[in-house]
Symmetry: C2
Subunit: 350 residues, 2 copies
C-alpha cells in the first residue's frame, strides 16, 4: 500500500509552513522566503486569519495555518461552558475559513472537521486542544497521502524525459510530483514563471526544486508563450485554488494566459487538485482583488511614480476547453466529467 | 501642414533620453528611472555602445544615443587624415549599430547617414562634428514627424472612449498617441503590464502617461489575459523592435502572449512602427538572449536561491495572424501587405 510518508520527511521539512506550540501558531513568512527565514507568531486564531489575509503564507500554506488556528481556538475554549465554547469555535471556524474570499469554500471542510472534534471533546469532558490537534494531524496525513496519489497520476502522464512549465507554487503537490518522478526514473526539469507580485514561482517552486536537486529555470511572467513556442516545455501543470465541477479552474493570475499559449502550441495543461463540490459552477467563485499597491512594488521597492494606479486580481479563470485533464487523488478526469464524479450525493429519499 | 513640434516640447522634455556636450554623450539611466534620475556619461562611442548593451537606455533610446555616439566619433576623427578618419567613422558606425543583435538592422540606417555626413565634411575640409550633429538633428525632426503621423493613424482606429493595453515602452510613439488623442478629444486610459525584468511598462510608459495626465493602471505581466477576459481593454498596441516584411513582429518578450489573448477575446492588436526593409522575413532576425541573472533579480534584490538558473530572451515573435494592423507614418497596413509597400526597390535596369 502506498504510504504518504515515503520521502515525506523531506517534503515536510522543506515545506516548513507552520507549527503549533502552547496556543501559538508560528507561520513561516513566505513573503520574505528564501531571502529571509522569518516567522510570524500568532497568539490566537484572529492573528492567524490576519496572517493568511496578509499573505504571510499562500498556496497550500493557509490550509495548515487555519487548522492550527482552530487548535488555538480549541485551547481558548477549554473550560468554557459548552454553549460558550461552541460559540467561540464557530466564530473561529468562520473567521479562519473566510480569511480570503476566493478559497473560503475549500477552507471550510477541514476547519469544520477540527471544530467538530474540539466540540465533541468538550461535550465529553475531554481536552479540546488535544482532540483538535489529533484531528488535524489525521487530516494532514490523509492530505499528504492524497497529494502523493495525485502526484503519481500526474507523473504517469509525463513522457520519460520532459520539461514541465509551472505557475505559482503547487505546494505539496509539486513536491510529490518531483519525488514520484524520481522514484520512477523519469528525467524531469522545471521552468518556473516567477509569478509576480509575490514571486512564489521564483521564491518557492524554484527553491523547492533546487533543494530536491531538480534542474530548474526561472523566467519572468511575460515569457511562457515564447518558451512554449520554442518547444522548450512538453507539459504545463498547476495546482488550483478552486476546481469547479463545471471544469473551470481558478488559480493564481497568469494561469489562464499560459493555458491559452499551451493550447496554441499543442502542449497539454494538467491541473492537479481536488474538484470542489461547494463550487458547482464558476458563478459560485468570487475573484479576490488584493491591495493594488502590491503590483506597484517589487521586492519592497516602488516600480512607478506616485499617481499611477494598480490592479491586482489574485486569480484568473481557465475555462475547461483549455484543460487537458484534471488530476486528482482518485484518478485522471476530463474537466467536462467532474460533475459526474464529485458532485455531492443528493440526500437519500425516504 | 502637420508639424512634429506641436506639443513636442513636452514629449522631448519627458523623454530626456540623451544629450551631447563637447564629445560626451550623457544618457539618462532608465534602469533606475523614475526612482532615481541619474545619468551615465560616455566619453566616446565605445562607451555609448557599452551603455546601450547594458540597457542604460532601451526602446527608442538607443536610436538617439547611437546617433550622438557617431557625433562623438566625428569629433574624434576631426583633424585625422581622410583615410584614417573614414576608418574611425566606419568602426564607430559598426560598433554602435551592433551594440545589441536583434535591432542592428534598424539601427544601421541613421547611424550610416550620420557617418556619411561626417565623412563628407572631412572631405570638404569642414567640421565633421558639427555636420554629424546637424544631420542627426535633421533625422530626429523627421523621426518625430513620422511618430506624430503614426500616432494620428493609430488614434483614428480607436473608439471615442477606450482603454488601451500596452506592452513595454513605445517611446515617442506612445507619447504622440496620447497627445493626438487629447487633441481629438478622445477619452483614453492606459493599462500597462509592468514588463519584467526591466519594468519599462511600470517605470516608463506609466510614468509618461501620469506626467501627461492620462489615467493609467499598472498590472503585472501575468494579468493581461485576465484584463482582456473582463472586457477592461478595447485595444492592444505596442511598438516593435523589428517589423519584418512578412508581417512577423519582434517586440519585447510578452507581446506574443498578449496578442494571443487579445485575439482570443476579439480585441485588435495594432503594432506601431516602420517595417524594416532589411528584414524581409522572420528568419533574418536573431532573438537576443540577455544575462539570465537579470530575471533572477527584481529592483536589485535576488528573487530565488543560488543554484536556480534563469533564461532571458529579450524579445518574442508575434506572427502576422495575430496582428490586426501595422500602423506606420505612411498609413495603416495589413501585416500581409507590407512586402508590397516597404520592400527595397530593385535597381533600375540598364
Amino acid at each position: 500500500m502506498t504510504r504518504a510518508d515515503d520521502g515525506l520527511g523531506f517534503i515536510l521539512r522543506y515545506e516548513n509552513v507552520a507549527r503549533y506550540q502552547d496556543g501559538e501558531v508560528i507561520i513561516l513568512d513566505r513573503r520574505k522566503y528564501p531571502a529571509l527565514v522569518e516567522y510570524v507568531r500568532c497568539p490566537d486564531y484572529t492573528a492567524v486569519a490576519q496572517a493568511i489575509a496578509a499573505m504571510v503564507t499562500q498556496s497550500g500554506g493557509p490550509w495548515l495555518a487555519a487548522g492550527l488556528g482552530m487548535v488555538s481556538a480549541a485551547r481558548a475554549a477549554h473550560g468554557l461552558a459548552p454553549d460558550k465554547a461552541s460559540e467561540v469555535l464557530a466564530q473561529a471556524a468562520y473567521t479562519l475559513s473566510h480569511a480570503r474570499p476566493t478559497t473560503s469554500a475549500r477552507m471550510a471542510a477541514h476547519v469544520q472537521r477540527v471544530q467538530a472534534a474540539a466540540l465533541a471533546a468538550i461535550q465529553q469532558g475531554e481536552d479540546p486542544e488535544a482532540a483538535a490537534y489529533a484531528c488535524l494531524m489525521d487530516l494532514l496525513e490523509k492530505r499528504y497521502l492524497q497529494a502523493r496519489k495525485t502526484g503519481a497520476f500526474a507523473v504517469s502522464l509525463f513522457p520519460q524525459t520532459c520539461t514541465i512549465l509551472t505557475q505559482c507554487f503547487a505546494e505539496t503537490l509539486i513536491g510529490f510530483v518531483l519525488l514520484v518522478a524520481r522514484e520512477q526514473g523519469k528525467q524531469i526539469e522545471l521552468i518556473c514563471p516567477e509569478t509576480r507580485p509575490y514571486l512564489q514561482g521564483a521564491r518557492l517552486t524554484a527553491s523547492l526544486a533546487c533543494d530536491m536537486g531538480v534542474p530548474v529555470t526561472v523566467i519572468t511572467d511575460n515569457m511562457p508563450a515564447y518558451v512554449l513556442s520554442r518547444g522548450m516545455a512538453q507539459v504545463f501543470i498547476s495546482a488550483a485554488d478552486v476546481i469547479c465541477l463545471d471544469g473551470h479552474v481558478v488559480n493564481k493570475v497568469g494561469t489562464y494566459q499560459i493555458a491559452l499559449a499551451a493550447q496554441a502550441h499543442g502542449v497539454p495543461y494538467y491541473v492537479l487538485g481536488s474538484p470542489s463540490p461547494a463550487n458547482p459552477t464558476i458563478q459560485s467563485v468570487e475573484i479576490e482583488l488584493r491591495d493594488p499597491q502590491e503590483v506597484l512594488h517589487a521586492m519592497g521597492a516602488a516600480t512607478t511614480k506616485p499617481g499611477v494606479q494598480g490592479f491586482y486580481p489574485a486569480f484568473d479563470i481557465t475555462p475547461p476547453r483549455l484543460v487537458s485533464a484534471v488530476v486528482t487523488g482518485e484518478g485522471i478526469y476530463s474537466p467536462y466529467d467532474l460533475v459526474n464524479h464529485f458532485a455531492p450525493r443528493p440526500p437519500a429519499e425516504d
